[in-house]
Each structure stands twice: as structure tokens, then as C-alpha cells.
Amino acid sequence: MKKQFLILAWRNIWRNKRRALLTISSIVVSLFFVLFMRQMQYWTYDFNIKNTVSGSIGYLQITDTSYVDEKILDNSIVTAEVPVGTIESIKGVTGVHPRIQSGALVSTGVKSKFAAVLGIQPSSDIELLKLSHKVRKGTLLEENDTGVLISEKMADYYKVSVGDSLIFMGQGYQGYTAAGIYSVKGILYFPAGDMSNSVLMSLREAQRFFVAPERITNYLINIKNSKDLNAIHTQIEEQLTGTSFIARTWEEVLPGLKQGFEIDANSGLLISGILYMIVGFGIFGTIVMLYNERRFEFGVLSAIGLQNKDLLFITLSELSILTLIGVFIGNLLSFPLLYYLNRNPIKLGGEAANAMLEQGFEPYMGTGLFVDVFAMNSLSVLLIAALTSGYMIVKIVHLNALEAMKQ
């Protein structure tokens, strides 16, 4: 019998083709835009986490506990005391990178300015920070290089080029004076904000400059899949039990960045909500019209012996089929565009790019192909349809055959 009810439901949908198409269209258009927007947002987060977080912060960071509140060299750690080998062997960990992050006054001629000084391991960090693509002048660092890399912005400020010298002065480990003259080996272009005021040194040279041999400020830990972050975090914490070291996720290290993502995601949610309201009103309008147009017929069907639950099954099947068609087409139509932009992200220019750079994002626009985004938004539409069906459910449950036929 259910088969016949479904056949009846299918035919009923097409009784009013225009209305059916309008309802489907409202779902398709709204879902298309919601999917496009949400996939773009999540792609941006993912892209920036991969490109910015993995290079400069790491998905996880190991520091001394005291470094969390006071980021000074005195709170640095001795490399040998951290069980790097064990951490590297944790499934999903792709790299453990020692860093020195501090700062110094950098000057030449009459110009001086405070800059972040980052000690890196050239053998692994050049690739991690994608420095090869960022070289504008000169060359990159080698393992025990004594030169430095500066940003294009700094080069413009100091009016220096490759081969010119810069004077560095700061505070080293435990009150030592950190001082040195370094030759500019390369000039890099950093699109994102913080790195544009950074100087890159080899780790060995940074340890020498800060008078902190065998010491680093933090280990950056990168992982294969961001979904494993919490699980890996737990495993690393287990390894650090009983030490003064602490492992923190990038979200803990840079809460502002996470908040930025969340604010952006919430604004997307608001727009999604508006689009879903359009879907909701579209479906609700269909339901109200459908009920009122066919109230008499419902009365007749009830009079001749169709139970209200069966009538409900038929009408809810109609709405479900309409919604599923809309959801299916919405997903189907959005996929090619999402796929194209996923494979070919667009590099932005002008004001849009500057705005993104100021927020610390790379100026690229692409879209994700996240299955959960497809699933959640499709389910949201189905949920809206289910909620708006409440009107039909109430009306049909309380349907009185005679009253319906009188009207």
C-alpha cells in the first residue's frame, strides 16, 4: 500500500508544476549559495591553518610552562630534555621543528626598528615556510648560515638590499647582551601580517646571537590531518607528564586567530540563516497552499476511509520528495564550481587582498569540498522542511472529514 501512496504523492507533486518548480528552485538557489559560502569559508580557514599556522605557529607547540605567560628567552628549553624522537613517532605527526622566537632592535644608518627574530632550521623550515616561493632577491639560508633573511617591507624601510649589513642588538639568555652585524642574504615577500616584520636566521646562528647554546623557545609540531589534533595533543601531553614542558594547540597559542575564524564562521551562519529562512518560507508557502487547495479532497479521502496517518504519509512524502529533489540538485549544481575553485584558487588583488593580509590571511579565494559541509547544510534544509511540515501535521491530525468537505 505504501508503494501506491508514494505513487500518489509523486503524481500530486506535479499537479501544480509551477509551484513544485518554484519550491524546488528556492531550495536549489539557497542551498547553492549557502554551500558556496560555507565551503569558501572553511577552505579559507583550512588554507590559512595549513599555510600560516603550520609554518609559523605549528598545529601544536611545546614550550616550557613558564613561557606561556612570559615569552622570554630565560623561559626557553634545552633541546635534549624534550623527547623529540618519541613525539616524532606518534602516528599523524609529520614534523617536529625547533625554533627560537625572540626580538631585537635592528638598525642601519639612522634608522632603527624592533623586529621579530626567528631562528629556523633551514633544512626543514625552508620548505615548511614555503620560502622558495617568497624569495624576491638573493638566496635562502643554509644550515649554519651566518646571514639573515628579511622581508621586502623591512628592506624598503631600511633601504637595504642583498649584501648590505644590519646591526642587531637585544637581550640574550639570562641577561647576556645579544649583538651582531648580519649581512642580508635574501629578501622575502610575506603576504601575511606578522612575518612581514621578521628576520630569519639559522637556528645555530640565533642560538649564538642570543647566547643560548642548545636552547630553543619552542618546538613546532605539525600533523597530517587537522582532525587528529586533539588526539595527538593528548598523546604528546602524556609524553610530557612529569616535566615542566607543556604542549598547546595552535588554537591555544593564537586564540585571536581562532576567534577570527569563529567570528567569520558566525557571520556566515547568519547569512546561511537568512537563506534558510527563504527556504523555510518557500516550503511553508507550498504547504499552506497545498493544504488549502486540497482540504476538500482530504475530507473526501477521509470520508471514504483513508486514515489520517495515511493521508499524512502521502502529504509528507510529497514534501519530502520535493525537498530531496531540491537538495540533490542544489548539491549537484554547486559541486562543479566548488570543485573548480578547489583545484584553482583565485589569487586576489587590490583592496580585497590588502584587507585579507591585514587580517593575517593569505589573499586567495578558493572553495572546499568538505563532506560535512555538504551533509550539514543538506540536513539543515531537510530539518527546515520537517519543521515547516508541522503545520501540515497539525492540520491533518485534526482533520475532520465533514468540516473539510463543508469548507
Partner: protein, 228 residues
């Protein structure tokens, strides 16, 4: 003959207080199997109200209704719907076929609800469609049939599941003379051949003329019960 419809001191009041209308007032009738009965009276006399009550579509304020040996006052809404499905065939003034179903599918609908096998459904419906002169129109949708043809499909739908009796509310009101006569011939023939019980609520003199029993109502009361 078995009594299929029995009402005892029925009262039906619409509205409350000073606006209350006594639509049925102490109505007691007995209709036996195989009767061809017309409920007749002017507008507001209570014939449709009585038809609704004996169709299990409405409830009386007072009195009892026994349909096919069942006291319908004891039935819940769901049970009443099931009772209607199994015992009562309805023919409405405006045909009220399902527009998206073919003539065959419309006729089949109640049998499907009853879970009757396809073989039996097919046999019975083709026989009835042939009997009402709709052979070859099985696949036509209601919109592709004339008013008379649609009403004949409605009759087939009402008859197909072999109900205890058929209630017809002004079945000829929207039909021309020829269609009316054809329909009445058909119903009369089914009454004669299959002993099907028919109860009409009607103004139509042509229906009244063909009825074997005519119950006259006025102001909610039976004023005359004529058996011919």
C-alpha cells in the same frame, strides 16, 4: 431482510443558545438490506445531516445509530474511519475523484486500502467499469471524462469494495438529463441484481420517482415515510 441502518430518537443541534438550530429532531428510521431509499425535503430539512450521521461523518447530540449491527457511538475516530472504509460507499454531488489517478485507479483506491489482492481488484473493477459503460476509459484521468462519466466512476469506487450500503448526496445535481437517467438506471440495476442498499439525499424528482421508499423530512422531523 437484515437491517443495515437503524437510528433511534436522533437529535442533532447546530450552534448554541438562541442561535441553536435543531437540524434533526427525534428521528428514528430503519433501512433494510436491498432498499432503494430517498431522503427528501426542502433545503434545511435535515436530509444531508441525517445522511452525514448514518455515514459516520458526524455525531448526534442524542440518540443511537446502529450501522450494519454496530453501534457507531462506541467507535473512536480511527475505528470510525475504518468502519466507513469497510461498510459504506459514498457518492458525492461533485464526484470528488482523485484528479491524479485514472478511472481504474480511483475505483481501485478503497480496495487497496482494504488490502484486497490485485487479481480480485482487477476482476471486480473491470466488471463494474464495463457495467457502467466505461470500458476503454480505464486509463483516463477524471479531467478527461465528462461529468456523467466521472459520477459513474464515483459509483464504481463506492461499489467496488462491496460495502454494506451506499450513501449518495445529491448525486445527480451536476448531471444533465441523459447522464442522470443513465446513472439512475445503473444504480437501480445494481440494487436489483446485487441487492445493494442505496440511500439518497436528493431534491431531484427523477431520483424520487425511481425510489422504492421515500422518507420526507421537514424541519428536522420525518413527516412521511412512503414505501412503494
Amino acid at each position: 431482510m437484515k437491517t443495515v441502518i437503524e437510528t433511534n430518537k436522533l437529535h442533532k443541534i447546530f450552534g448554541k443558545g438562541e442561535l441553536a438550530v435543531h437540524a434533526l429532531n427525534d428521528v428514528s428510521i430503519q433501512i433494510k438490506e436491498g432498499e432503494f431509499t430517498a431522503l427528501v425535503g426542502p433545503s434545511g430539512s435535515g436530509k444531508t445531516t441525517l445522511l452525514n450521521l448514518i455515514g459516520g461523518l458526524d455525531q448526534a447530540n442524542e440518540g443511537t445509530i446502529t450501522l450494519n449491527s454496530c453501534d457507531i457511538n462506541t467507535l473512536k475516530k480511527k475505528e470510525m474511519t475504518e468502519f466507513r472504509q469497510k461498510n459504506i460507499g459514498f457518492v458525492f454531488q461533485a464526484y470528488n475523484l482523485i484528479p491524479v489517478l485514472s478511472a481504474y485507479e480511483n475505483a481501485e483506491f478503497i480496495m487497496l486500502l482494504q488490502g484486497i489482492s490485485e487479481k480480485i481488484r482487477k476482476k471486480r473493477i473491470y466488471k463494474l467499469l464495463k457495467a457502467v459503460g466505461l470500458e476503454g476509459k480505464e486509463n483516463n484521468k477524471p479531467g478527461e471524462l465528462s461529468g456523467g462519466q466521472q459520477q459513474r466512476v464515483a459509483v464504481v469506487r463506492a461499489l467496488a469494495a462491496k460495502p454494506a450500503y451506499i450513501l449518495a448526496d445529491e448525486p445527480t445535481a451536476n448531471l444533465d438529463s441523459k447522464s442522470t437517467n443513465d446513472l439512475l438506471d445503473l444504480m437501480y440495476q445494481l440494487n436489483q441484481e446485487e441487492h445493494m442498499t442505496f440511500v439518497f439525499a436528493t431534491h431531484d424528482q427523477r431520483v424520487i420517482d425511481r425510489a422504492k421508499r421515500v422518507i420526507y423530512l421537514e424541519d428536522g422531523k420525518i413527516i412521511k415515510d412512503e414505501i412503494r
